[in-house]
């Protein structure tokens, strides 16, 4: 009996080895999201992977697994150190979050620990103020901050995330000191602080801010991106308002695999996944939810990661 089991096991292993290249994927795939169920990343990951089981995509469904905690560090630590590099374990990435965290230290990953597959979305940071705020443009904000150094409070979803990067860039560009208040509980808590008047302004995700503006709760003063957003054609970018803020804080979301994943698997994924994201059903759902899409291929993402790491190293050097 023992021999039989051993024989079967060896046969299975042989099969698995040969099957990697041609047959991948031959079973459902798991995708780890390092934020909780219901968050923007989780929500979007579920939408963009919903067509994975179609014949023209991977032919196998993708199941989402949440490993939230410590601003994403828990999930990415797990992914870098414990996940199987066999192509059946994918993860969602958030840039600049994980790159900024790896520069700051205390985690067991860096941009080199992962291999990007494709990017699906780009959610720029925006500056919001309460609907009844006296500020009507970034110039008003900067003027107030110049008169009252360190007194202008503005919220964001934590330290070393896109919001914090945008805050640092705005302060640097305007040459002022403001009081950045990191909140616990993500963008929702930061938005609540703005609407309730606990802080004078805030950095938030474009998609959430767009909803809050539609509901009449906030005004959006500027977008921290290179061009205006399709969702907010009337809101000028920071650069248009004379603040030298580029797209370093834009929250790029996409799919990656651990470093030692077989090259054939990476190639197969890199070819199929952007196609899968481009499915019109996906685009419709993303559009409905106010989530901006931005599909990028593996090579484009690689270049974006490298550029981001460069900028963030310079920006965070002083902290």
């Amino acid at each position: 009996m023992k021999k039989l089991i051993a024989g079967a096991a060896i046969a299975l292993m042989g099969l698995a080895g040969a099957a990697v290249a041609e047959e991948y994927p031959d079973r459902p795939i798991m995708m780890m999201v390092s934020y909780g169920a219901g968050g923007a990343t989780d929500f979007q990951a579920r939408i963009v992977t919903m067509t994975a089981g179609n014949e023209d995509a991977l032919g196998m469904p993708i199941a989402i697994i949440n490993k939230p905690g410590a601003g994403g560090r828990v999930g990415w630590n797990w992914f870098a150190t414990q996940a199987d590099a066999d192509g059946y374990t994918l993860a969602a990435y958030n840039v600049p979050h994980f790159i900024a965290q790896s520069i700051k230290g205390g985690v067991s990953y860096s941009a080199d620990s992962f291999e990007p597959i494709a990017n699906w979305g780009a959610d720029p940071a925006v500056f919001v103020v309460g609907a009844d705020s006296p500020f009507n443009s970034m110039a008003d904000v900067v003027a107030h901050a110049t008169e009252n150094p360190g007194k202008l409070t503005f919220s964001g979803a934590g330290l070393f995330v896109g919001h914090h990067i945008a805050a640092l860039q705005i302060e640097k560009a305007a040459g002022v000191k403001m009081a950045y208040i990191p909140t616990k509980g993500g963008g929702a808590a930061a938005m609540k602080a703005v609407i309730a008047g606990e802080v004078m302004g805030g950095i938030n995700n474009l998609s959430d801010a767009f909803r809050a503006q539609e509901a009449g709760n906030v005004k959006i003063l500027g977008v921290a991106d290179l061009q205006r957003s399709d969702f907010l054609p009337d809101v000028p970018t920071m650069q248009e308002q004379g603040l030298d803020v580029d797209n370093s804080s834009v929250n790029f979301r996409g799919v990656m695999v651990p470093k030692d994943t077989p090259q054939e698997v990476i190639d197969k994924l890199a070819a199929t996944v952007p196609e899968m994201f481009a499915n019109p059903r996906v685009a419709k759902k993303m559009q409905a939810g106010g989530s901006p899409m931005h599909i990028m291929t593996r090579d484009e993402v690689k270049a974006m990661w490298a550029a981001r790491e460069q900028t963030l190293k310079e920006l965070l050097a002083g902290l």
Binding site: G38, M50, I65, V74, Q101, K151, F160
Partner: protein
């Protein structure tokens, strides 16, 4: 009265079928250890991709309502609280089950859940604009004081003495600091990789409540005379209803505490049950019966945690801010159909908004009916011999802890905390204050740091935390709560010394 107009939509064949499915499925998911309401609702989201917006929300609303109540089943029968909301239910509910009153405890919990739940949804229907302002009134300083108020409850909660209660609360507060600090990103006490994310509250709950009980059962060994097979007394629903009506105070305090606390974003759901339990105990004429299988404890806890469901959705539906993790998942369910909560929802999609709210109302009634049916069946669980029961609870505990985020690390955490708690219980410490510390620690800390940063940039810490009507009111309640506990402690001590002197 707009909501009555949309009642018809709830009863269209497909909607009602989904409502039934969501309710029954929710009860089963809720009763499964480790599956919190948030997880259950998240699991159902993919199904709503293929449904109309209204129908998708009916499914999610029904599931939310019934998973909160379903958690009582495992809390009462197995002493495994399915979610933080059910902690208070275990305190008296499991004792009742041990005394053979499992059916009664379950019936009471479902009846109280429905009563509290319906009140909560009615608040949502009639007072939403007013409640939205109230939800926003709580800034960092108020949330800090609210958490401190919760800490003052620790001492009087289910413990042999106030000092032991406070001590186990402190252990909980310390455990809460483990992991990456959420605001600064500093690492604290991470001596094992599975602690990186801190101690997962669901895994901790399972470990602290279920494991000591499993160990106790195993410690009794195979001695047949020790294997007490609990007789389950049949209990009629009518008697349960009468019992509920005889306890209007527990029901009232539970419902009101649950609705008020459930409203506060970020805090409510987790502590509503515990605070309601403690308040009911303080106002009860039969204080000494609490913790020994008293029906008031179950009624207050369950009324509170279902009353919280309606108000907890107020910040989401009016301001588009999800106030709880479950609300965040529901937000996803709305967004996927291109509906933005807030004025857009009530102005442009009133059919969706009101049908959703109505379905929660009808869901509460259905949940109660099925719950009562389940109560009859599920109480038989207690007839299983202890050795078998211990194995089942252990297996469910491991399964539950693992399934929270598919991680063995949580299972280790659960096992360690459980073994530690087994020894602590032998010295008269209790799990409830420990868990309360674990929940409140991060709330108090984050709000103190955040409030402190705002204060430093504006008016200074002293005036930020100590002035303003709501701050002063909360501080007064804290002082009153501490004074009351101290006074009760002194009074009982005087009595005991007198009795000892006479003896």
């Amino acid at each position: 009265m707009e909501f009555i107009y949309y009642f018809g939509d709830v009863f269209s064949p497909l909607s009602f079928l989904l409502l039934l499915g969501g309710t029954i499925g929710g009860l089963i998911l809720g009763a499964t250890p480790g599956l919190s309401p948030t997880m259950a609702v998240a699991l159902l989201i993919p199904f709503t991709f293929h449904l109309e917006a209204v129908q998708g929300l009916i499914l999610l609303g029904a599931a939310y309502t019934s998973t909160v109540a379903g958690g009582a089943v495992s809390a009462i029968l197995l002493k495994i609280p399915g979610a933080p909301a059910n902690i208070a239910t275990t305190l008296d509910g499991h004792k009742m089950a041990k005394q053979g009153q499992g059916a009664k405890a379950l019936q009471l919990s479902f009846l109280a859940s429905a009563a509290g739940g319906i009140f909560g949804v009615l608040l949502l229907i009639f007072l939403t604009p007013l409640l939205a302002e109230w939800a926003l009134a709580f800034g960092p300083s108020h949330l800090f004081w609210l958490a401190i108020l919760g800490v003052t409850v620790i001492g009087s909660l289910d413990s042999a003495s106030v000092v032991k209660g406070l001590l186990s609360g402190c252990i909980g507060l310390w455990l809460a600091t483990i992991g990456f600090d959420d605001i600064m990103g500093a690492q604290r006490f991470i001596f094992h990789p599975s602690l990186g994310g801190g101690i997962n509250i669901i895994a901790a709950l399972i470990g602290l409540f279920a494991i000591p009980q499993v160990l106790t059962m195993f410690a009794k060994g195979r001695r047949t005379e020790g294997a007490e097979v609990i007789e389950v007394q049949k209990h009629s629903v009518l008697d349960a209803t009468r019992e509920l009506l005889r306890r209007p105070r527990a029901l009232g305090i539970g419902t009101i505490t649950g609705s008020v606390i459930g409203l506060i974003p970020g805090v409510g759901g987790q502590i509503a049950g515990l605070v309601a339990y403690d308040q009911t105990k303080k106002f009860s004429s039969e204080k000494e019966k609490f913790g020994k299988g008293h029906s008031e404890g179950v009624i207050a806890a369950e009324a509170a945690n279902n009353a919280m469901v309606g108000p907890s959705l107020v910040p989401l539906l009016t301001l588009s801010i999800p106030g709880s993790p479950t609300a965040a998942v529901l937000l996803g369910g709305l967004l996927i159909h291109g509906i933005f909560p807030g004025s857009d929802l009530f102005d442009n999609h009133p059919d969706v908004a009101w049908t959703f709210i109505n379905s929660m109302l009808v869901g509460q009634v259905l949940m109660c009916l099925f719950g009562l049916y389940v109560a009859g069946l599920a109480a038989r669980v207690a007839q299983v011999p202890q050795s078998v029961m211990a194995a089942i609870v252990l297996a469910l505990s491991v399964f539950g802890a693992y399934s929270v985020q598919s991680s063995m690390g949580d299972v280790y955490v659960m096992a360690c905390l459980g073994i530690g708690m087994y020894f602590l219980e032998r010295f008269g410490f209790s799990a409830a204050p420990l868990v309360l510390g674990l929940i409140l620690g991060p709330i108090a800390e984050a709000n103190f740091i955040q409030g402190g940063m705002i204060a430093d940039a504006t008016v200074g810490k002293a005036s930020y935390f100590l002035s303003g009507g709501l701050n002063i009111f909360l501080i007064a309640v804290v002082v009153a709560s501490v004074a009351y506990s101290a006074w009760m402690e002194l009074r009982t001590r005087r009595y005991t010394t007198k009795e000892e002197a006479q003896a």
